[in-house]
Amino acid sequence: EAAVTQSPRNKVTVTGGNVTLSCRQTNSHNYMYWYRQDTGHGLRLIHYSYGAGNLQIGDVPDGYKATRTTQEDFFLLLELASPSQTSLYFCASSGTPNTGQLYFGEGSKLTVL
């Protein structure tokens, strides 16, 4: 069974705060993704990567940075958090680009006050 682990599961910060969301996958997958999920918008892609050191911009990248340090680890950074970034964040991995199955982590609920 594919395994994607996110941390923290819940985070509360204030406007202007610094947040790092972490994701680790043990599937030996090359592709990793960060999504945000908001009611009425479904899943929106923030950043994705197809290997260590690689980073690609998704559909809603503004206000987010990401870094893929190893094949296993993908981080999402919010350096000046804003209330509009309050959301449920999902990390996912796949063995092939998007025509293969995406395996999602448990999600990280971020609240920016």
């Binding site: 592709y31 009425g40 918008h41 479904g42 899943l43 929106r44 892609l45 994705y48 197809y50 690609q56 998704g58 559909d59 999902f90 680009p97 998007n98 025509t99 199955q101 995406l102 999602f104 982590g105 448990e106 999600g107």
Partner: protein
């Protein structure tokens, strides 16, 4: 235009009925169409997927019907069970692009 439209936003059916969820797209280069389901408090998981070489894909009670000419595809859930209650997302992508384009989701409630 890379967009996937999903309807209805919410759907309630009685146990045993067939639930029908609909999606449409505009980009004719899409060639992979998955459906994911998401139970409350959980993450999305792949349910079933189809490629345009077929106009129908079945997996137990779940069937995708695909109409390439009209650029529409639908998920039929036969003999709906209360345990099928979840949010269902359709999506589309193409081999040349890493991105899955997601529909906005249908919240399905099955009443016993």
């Amino acid at each position: 235009q890379q967009q996937v439209r999903q309807s209805p936003q919410s759907l309630t059916v009685w146990e045993g009925e067939t639930a029908i969820l609909n999606c449409s797209y505009e980009d004719s280069t899409f060639d992979y169409f998955p459906w994911y389901h998401q139970f409350p408090g959980e993450s999305p998981a792949l349910l079933i997927a189809i490629r345009p070489v077929s106009n129908k894909k079945e997996d137990g009670r779940f069937t995708i019907f695909f109409n390439k000419r009209e650029k529409k595809f639908s998920l039929h859930i036969a003999d709906s069970q209360p345990g099928d209650s979840a949010t269902y997302f359709c999506a589309a992508s193409m081999d040349s692009n890493y991105q899955l384009i997601w529909g906005s989701g249908t919240k399905l409630i099955i009443k016993p």
